[in-house]
Symmetry: C2
Subunit: 431 residues, 2 copies
C-alpha cells in the first residue's frame, strides 16, 4: 500500500471537503503536523475568507487559520484538485428531511463532484454522522462503479467526527478517534492517517460499527436529556425543583451521570442524528422507541416553556399579546456562537406569533442571522437595569456565563428560568 508509506513518511496531501465546524479544525490539526492540506468547499465566500487567513467561526482562532495559510494551506472551490490529494475527508452536513428521513444529498453531491477526479492509491473517508451501512451501501458502490478495487488500489474508511464546540478540556488531538475501513487494508490506511493527528485511534471491526458508535453517542444524550425533561415536568407538578435533585444525585460517585433539562434540544447532532437510526431500523423491521419518545418530549419543550410564560403572565393579569418579553440567549448552548437548531429561535417565533413584543440579548449575536426556518429581524439589546425594568417578563433560554445574573434577578419583575440558574422565588418561575 503505497499510500500508507506516503502517510507515514508525512509525504501525503490531505483534501478536506466541507470547511465548517468539523472540517476546519481537522484542516488546522493536519497543518499543525506539517502535512499539506487543501480545503474544498462549494461556498466561495468561505473559501475566500480562509485564503485571506480569516475565521468565520467564533471559537476557531483566526491565528490558527492565518498560520495554516502561511504554511501553505489553500482553500478552493475547484474539485479538479482532488487528483492532487492522497486522502479525501468528507465533512459535509447530514441533516434530516422534512419527514425526519436522512438527507444524504450533501454526501451524494460531494461524490458527484469528486468522482471524475479520483485516481488509484487514494483514501476516501466519510466523517459525517450517518446511519449504519451508509459507507458500504452508498459510497463503496460508487467507487467500485468507477473501476477501482476497494482495499487493493483504492481505500475507503469511516471515522465519525466528535467535535464539541466550546469544550475547553478536549481538542481534536486529544479526543480519541474511532476509525474503520471497508476492508482490512482500508482500516490500516485509515488508522495510519489519523495516527498522524490524534493521540489515540480506536479501530473497530467494520464501518457499520463505527457509524453506529457515533449514533449511539448522540442517542445517549438525546434520551438522557429527554428523560430529565420529562422528570422536570413531573417534579414541577410535585413542587420539586429538578435541578436541585439532579445536583444532589450527581454527588453519587458511580452509576449516575448528570444531564440537565432545558427549553428544547439544539445543535446539529442531538436533535437530528438519532432519527438516522430510526429510519434505518425500519428496514429490518425494528422500532427505536426510546429515540422516538425522546424526540417527542424534547420537541415539546418549547411549548412547555411557552405555557409557563402564559401562566406566569396570567397570574399578574397579562396576556402574551402585547407583553414585553426579553429572551436571554440565542445560541443552542451556553458560551458558543452556534445557532443551529436553537430552541430560542422557536421560542421567539412562537411568542411573536402570539403577539408579544419580543426583544433578545445575546453577546454572541448582535442580530439574528437568517436560518432556513426562521427570518427574524431583531438586534441584541444591551443588558442593563432600564431594559430589564421595561420588560413584563424575562425568559432565560441560554445561560451564557457572560450574563450578569445578579442584575437580571434584581431588576426583572418576572423571570422564566429554563436553565436552573436562579433560586426559585416569588418572581422566578422554573420551566
Amino acid at each position: 500500500m503505497q499510500i500508507k508509506d506516503r502517510i507515514q513518511n508525512k509525504e501525503s496531501t490531505i483534501g478536506i471537503i466541507g470547511l465548517g465546524y468539523v472540517g476546519l479544525p481537522l484542516a488546522i490539526r493536519f497543518g499543525e503536523e506539517s502535512l499539506k492540506v487543501i480545503g474544498f468547499d462549494i461556498d466561495e465566500h468561505k473559501v475566500n475568507m480562509l485564503n485571506e487567513g480569516k475565521s468565520y467561526i467564533k471559537h476557531i482562532n483566526e491565528g490558527n487559520i492565518s498560520g495554516m495559510v502561511k504554511q501553505g494551506f489553500i482553500a478552493t472551490t475547484d474539485f479538479a484538485k482532488i487528483t492532487d490529494v492522497d486522502a479525501i475527508l468528507i465533512c459535509v452536513p447530514t441533516p434530516l428531511g422534512v419527514h425526519n428521513e436522512p438527507d444524504l444529498s450533501y454526501v451524494k453531491s460531494t461524490l458527484d463532484l469528486v468522482k471524475s477526479h479520483l485516481r488509484e492509491e487514494q483514501l476516501l473517508i466519510l466523517e459525517s454522522t450517518t446511519y449504519p451501512g451508509t459507507t458500504a451501501e452508498e459510497i463503496v458502490p460508487v467507487i467500485e462503479a468507477l473501476g477501482f478495487k476497494v482495499g487493493e488500489n483504492f481505500y475507503i474508511g469511516y471515522s465519525p467526527e466528535r467535535e464539541d464546540p466550546g469544550n475547553k478540556n478536549f481538542s481534536t488531538q486529544t479526543i480519541p478517534k474511532v476509525v474503520s475501513g471497508h476492508t482490512k487494508n482500508c482500516l490500516e490506511v485509515t488508522t495510519a492517517l489519523y495516527d498522524q493527528i490524534v493521540d489515540q485511534t480506536v479501530p473497530v471491526s467494520s464501518t457499520q460499527v463505527a457509524e453506529m458508535t457515533k449514533i449511539l453517542e448522540n442517542i445517549h444524550r438525546a434520551v438522557n436529556i429527554g428523560l430529565v425533561n420529562e422528570l422536570k415536568m413531573v417534579a414541577d407538578k410535585m413542587n420539586i425543583d429538578i435541578n436541585e435533585v439532579i445536583k444532589a444525585a450527581a454527588t453519587k460517585p458511580f452509576g449516575f451521570t448528570a444531564y440537565y433539562p432545558g427549553p428544547g434540544l439544539g445543535g446539529h447532532c442531538i436533535p437530528i442524528d438519532p432519527f438516522y437510526l430510526t429510519w434505518k431500523a425500519k428496514e429490518v423491521g425494528m422500532n427505536t422507541r426510546f429515540i422516538e419518545l425522546a424526540g417527542e418530549i424534547n420537541t415539546s419543550m418549547p411549548n412547555y416553556v411557552i405555557q409557563k410564560v402564559s401562566e406566569s403572565l396570567n397570574s399578574i393579569g397579562k396576556s402574551i399579546k402585547n407583553s414585553r418579553i426579553l429572551i436571554l440567549g440565542l445560541a443552542y448552548k451556553k458560551n458558543v456562537d452556534d445557532l443551529r437548531e436553537s430552541p430560542s429561535l422557536e421560542l421567539i417565533d412562537i411568542l411573536i406569533d402570539k403577539g408579544a413584543l419580543v426583544d433578545y440579548c445575546d453577546p454572541y449575536f448582535k442580530s439574528i442571522p437568517n436560518t432556513r426556518k426562521y427570518q427574524i429581524e431583531l438586534k441584541s439589546k444591551v443588558l442593563n437595569a432600564d431594559v430589564l425594568q421595561s420588560m413584563d417578563l424575562v425568559l432565560l433560554a441560554t445561560d451564557h456565563d457572560d450574563f450578569d445574573y445578579d442584575l437580571i434577578e434584581k431588576e426583572s419583575s418576572l423571570i422564566i428560568d429554563t436553565r436552573g440558574r436562579f433560586e426559585k422565588s416569588e418572581k422566578v418561575i422554573k420551566a
Copy 2:
C-alpha cells in the same frame, strides 16, 4: 436540641431497624466510630447469627461483625429497646405490589412496632427508597398523632441509602450521603448524625427532594439499561455487535457513559424503585413514559434470550424440550451472592417449563435458595470439560470473573452470550 449535642459528643446510641444489605453496613460503620449501636430485626435467625458474630451476607466480612459485637453491638427482636436509642434508622424493604404499586407495609409495620416506645428528643430517619412525599405524608402524621412536635422535641429525616454490593472503589464511608429533614432543625440533627460516619453529607432543601434524588439515580440506570437493551436488538438485526459499539463509544471522554445490555434487570433497586415515581406521578396527573418504556423493554429481555436459545437450538435441529442447557451465573450481577430479582431465575423457570433439562453453575450459590417467586431444586454443577461437553447449549447469564471463559469457549458446542463476554463466532450467539 439536646440530641444534636449528644450526637456530636459521641454519647448517642443508634438504633438500626432492618439488618440486611443496608442496615448491616450502617451498623458496622457506626460501630467503627465507637458509637453504641442496637440492631433491630423481626427475623430471630438473623438476630441470633449477629449476636454470635456471624455474617449472612457474603460480601460483608465476618470479622467486621464479630468486631462490632465485641465493641458492644447487640441485635434484638425486642422493639421496646427503642426507648434506649437516640437515633432510629429505618432500613426495611420497599418492594412493589403485584400491580407495580408501592408496598410500604414494612415501613408502616415498623412504625407500628416502635411507636409506643418513642420518647422526646429522638431522631427518626427513613433510609428506604421511596416516592417523593413518603416521609411527610406517611411518617410525620404518625409521629404528630403521638403528640410530638416535629422539629421541636422530635426530629424526622430522610437519607436514602446508596449501598452498592461488591463495589470495591466506594464504601459506606466514602459515598457522599444525601440528607434531609422535615424542618430546619430536623435537617441539622440528621446532618450531624451522618457527619459522624461519612466523609461528605449533601443536605437538600426537603425530604421530597431527597426522596426524588434516590429515585432519579435508579431511574437513570433503568432507562439507560433499557435503551441499550433496545439498541442491542436493533443492532443484532443489522448484524452489529452492540457491545463492540458501546466499548468504542466509551472512548469518548465527555458526554457519554457506558451502560451494557443484559438478560434483564436484577437487584432490589433498578427494576423496582422507578415505579414508585410512576405511581406517585398519577396523583398529579402525570405519566412517566421513559420509566414505563424501560420497564417494558427490560422485562421483555428474558423472553428475547429464550427466543435466541430456541433459534440456536433449532439451527442444529433441536428443540428446547429435552435439550440439556447449562445456565452460567445465578446472581443478578457479577461477583456477588445476591439473587434478588435475578433474571437467571426467570430464565431457568421458563426453560424448565418448556421441557429443557436445566443445570446451572454459580460459585456463589451451591444450591438455589427459595425466593418468594421461585422454588427451584438444583445444585450448582462443577464447571469442567465433561460437564460442558455434555450440554446442548450453554447460556451465560451472569459473567462472574471466576468462570474459566477459555474452557467454556473451548468445550461448549453452542453458547448464548448475554453479557458480551465472548467474540462472536460459529458457536457463539449474542443475545
